[in-house]
Amino acid sequence: MTVPFLLFFVCGALAVVGAILVIAAREPVHSALALVLVMVALAVLYLLLGAPFIAAVQIIVYAGAIMVLFVFVIMLLNAGVEERTDFSSIAKYVGVPLGFVLMLWAAHWLWHSQPAGAIGTAATTPAASSRELSVELFRQYLFPFEATSILILIAILGALVLAKREE
């Protein structure tokens, strides 16, 4: 059991536990914290996969900004314990187990598949360093890059307009 394998299983288990806690937590704040745990575990997995830049971006943007926004909104709206509603019996006793079965069957099938290519655990391949990634971003993917910056501008304007109180 080498270190990369151990790290994969530990972080994978943490991610799955976090995802289950997102479903099982009673307070939305606890769900948000569990989701942050999932994201940090995934960032470590990206490091294992030789993409340190994406891991850093994941933590800075996803775990450090988007989830802070979620927690902020939960605090602002004072979201308390979720109301317990009555599920129909079909949903409770057939739906949830079937959902789990589907998920586990897909995972099992994928586990034993043989997709092309295999992942070595060498340290960062030179191709995935930030320099190569930015070369790709600014040459081949320049148009999507600029389009996403306009998208972010639109999102800022949209959020500002929506959140303004009617005077």
Partner: protein, 102 residues
């Protein structure tokens, strides 16, 4: 063995995606439903990065970058909408938001 096969990462991605779908379908709080969407996006990101490493190409990583950016924009606008809705209906439960009429 020091080589972790791609299929392990894909299986983990499938598990996370499935849990995100279950959370999306069975939770009642609109913010928690939003969070399950983010969970699904993260699962997909993991699959992208795994394939990018397997084929030794950078296109998967660029796509992950864009998915993160688009998720940020979507979360911002979506949460602004949620705030407005919650103030309008005085409740965060999805069951109170199923009428088109305000």
């Amino acid at each position: 063995m020091s080589v972790i096969p791609v299929s392990y990462y894909l299986a983990l991605s499938a598990v996370l995606f499935g849990l995100g779908v279950i959370a999306f379908v069975f939770k009642r709080n609109v913010i928690t439903i939003f969070m399950s969407i983010e969970l699904m996006l993260n699962a997909v990101n993991l699959a992208f990065v795994a394939f990018a490493r397997a084929h030794n190409q950078l296109d998967g990583l660029v796509f992950v970058f864009f998915v993160i950016v688009v998720a940020a924009a979507e979360a911002a606008v979506g949460l602004a909408l949620v705030i407005m809705l919650a103030q309008n209906r005085q409740s965060l439960s999805v069951e109170r938001m199923n009428h088109l009429k305000l």
